[in-house]
Symmetry: C2
């Protein structure tokens, strides 16, 4: 099938035309937005665009989006993800707090294991989807997506009178992602990197730089995250990793929207956000991490039990769009006839799929593969079809 | 005294030179950063730079910083401050929750009154400094600075089992600030605008657009805020206000860093932030809003009583810097001899003062007016003297 051009598939209307020219804006560097420990290093390596995440600048791209995508899929990319901040919970009740914060059963979680854990409010709405790292029986980190979970965790702990101190430690994650990340990691840390299971981690050092080495990262291309424990050593760590990666074609990159759409990864803040696009774990495809059967007490249990019993009303889906419309930078309504049945939170052209693909949340009746829908963009509507995720 | 040029007053070193050229970066418009209800209007009016605040784009300037400053001081500026989100607390226990969240005594706060209220955690550290609006005995808004207070408020309310629902309503503040703001407000709402006291507000409509009209705003130039209650009407409200302001020289602008430094206004996220620059209300100059004598229960009471009894160890100060060094975009250490005695959170050249001025937090022993200090910038050090705030 021929791809349609945006001009052809879009019905123009009178609203402002947010074209591709407006897809990037200038941001002022103010003191209210923090810089990463790798900020200077990414400037030296030619970062061209930033976003803001957890009140911190995070690189968006380095001027070669296609090359950066290829590097992630075929060799290895180096990402500054220091904006993925840590919420540290420390004290005799740290484990109790960690368990109370998530519907996922942590009973069997050992020191050195990480867990992807949905966090919900008392109504069962997601408020974040961090990775939990158990550093010791009394020390846990939540490696958080873009919301102030330290406030949430501190409020719960204090109101319950539990012995646990919530802080944001000096920890700055950097990721290497891609099929050759394992080679870079071996060169840096030796063959022990092959022993790490997914989400497994160890506390170690590299040239005297203290860090936590984890087999994790926000892509499906496999890789590692280095949780640097001294922000003064950001440039040193960036340099060491860059140097070790040279034989494997390492280059700078950033969490990749296209790859995450293809892989079906959730982006809290984009796909869902408590304030205006609330969703339960069941709706967003994380029902498998709600362990009601484990019987533990956790925030939102009653609401999630009710949601489980009634079944979800909406479901996360993939969408294949006609043509190559420009993504306007915000979620857009999905229509079936004249009914609004949900929204698409992001879409982009995927070279691998050969189509423009997106992810969204729609009412259950319309989630069947092949269902024809329309997407309402600021500059017109475009036809799309529902399909399952992941796309690849 | 002659102003020194930056080249002369700065000792160069080997770190990266973050020059004025790097003071703005490009930001990608991703779905994780929300757009304001006035986004299209500010684009049309030529916005040139944004920042990110409460996960939302907020205009930084419109390409004429000097003209925008003059407008704020001499006529009237129109600001998109929709990123100042509302945390709505509604229910029979809403007042109880509002009072429990702040050390300020709210006993005499009436419907239609706003209050500037520090919010602290259980250790007495500030987590936000919003304006509280009492809309009814059972409905309050916290018009918040840049942190996720909805998570904090919801956690407290739920853990206490109080009858109060915490939400983010569809409310988008726009401000008009400057000496002629009152004329614009009168033209829009009639002479009743003269009856509003500072922080006073009323629920009303303008051409059928529902809003809360408040005498408030983040400047010391006086003005009003329009809390739009239907984001679909952002462009309509922007247009009506712009039109009404024409005879008074209205033009677009944004919260102004220079004016706020001159006036000594606090910028939560810049001057202080829980995660890395924590401070108590006493240290930051808000001790007068900690009403221990009122005897009410509030979060952080025990910690603030102890802080009150021992007296603050640090104090907010103004700083006058030599020359016109470029602000590097992040807080910088303040030195006395070789001792680090605090930090300056932001500085800028003030035309009114005729010097480069900043605000910071330093240890009590060194807060005397005229104390000579050094400020450590990424590209060298610069001499400065302590003085009191406000500057004007």
């Amino acid at each position: 099938m021929q791809l349609q051009e945006p001009e052809g598939s879009l019905r123009r209307n009178e609203t402002i035309n947010i074209s591709k020219d407006l897809m990037s804006l200038t941001i002022g560097i103010g003191p209210n937005i923090r810089k990463s420990a790798y900020f200077d290093s990414t400037l030296r390596d030619g970062v061209q665009s930033f976003s803001v995440y957890n009140h911190m600048l995070i690189p968006g791209h380095f001027g070669d989006p296609e090359g950066e995508y290829d590097r992630l899929l075929n060799s290895v990319a180096q990402w500054d993800v220091a904006a993925q901040r840590q919420v540290q919970m420390q004290g005799t009740d740290a484990g109790k707090l960690a368990q109370y914060l998530t519907p996922r059963d942590l009973t069997k979680t050992k020191v050195g294991q990480g867990r992807y854990v949905p966090l919900c409010d008392h109504q069962g709405w997601l408020i974040n989807d961090p990775v939990l790292l158990k550093l010791s029986e009394e020390t846990y980190w939540l490696s958080v997506a873009d919301s102030d979970i330290h406030l949430w965790a501190a409020a719960i702990a204090q109101e319950r009178g539990w012995d646990v101190r919530v802080t944001e430690p000096d920890v700055s994650p950097m990721a290497i992602q891609g099929p050759k990340a394992i080679d870079v990691a071996e060169r840096l840390f030796g063959t022990m990197v092959y022993d790490l299971k997914n989400f497994g981690f160890i506390e170690t050092t590299l040239n005297g730089i203290p860090l936590v080495l984890a087999k994790s990262g926000w892509s499906k291309q496999s890789g590692f995250e280095f949780y640097l424990r001294d922000s003064a050593k950001g440039a040193a760590l960036w340099g060491v990793v860059k140097e070790a990666g040279q034989p494997f074609g390492i280059g700078p990159g950033a969490p990749n929207d296209i790859e995450r759409l293809e892989s079906g990864l959730i982006s809290y803040g984009a796909d869902i956000r408590w304030q205006h696009y609330p969703a339960t774990p069941y709706e967003i495809g994380l029902g498998g991490l709600v362990n009601l059967e484990a019987g533990h007490e956790f925030i939102g249990r009653a609401a999630l039990e009710a949601a489980h019993n009634s079944g979800p009303k909406r479901q996360r889906v993939g969408l294949v769009l006609d043509g190559t419309p420009a993504f306007p930078g915000h979620p857009c309504p999905v229509l079936r006839g004249s009914d609004e049945i949900g929204y698409v939170s992001e879409f982009a052209y995927s070279k691998r799929v050969g189509r423009t693909i997106g992810v969204g949340l729609v009412t259950l009746a319309h989630t069947g593969t092949g269902t024809n829908v329309m997407i309402e963009l600021p500059y017109g509507t475009v036809a799309a079809r529902i399909r399952k995720i992941p796309f690849v």
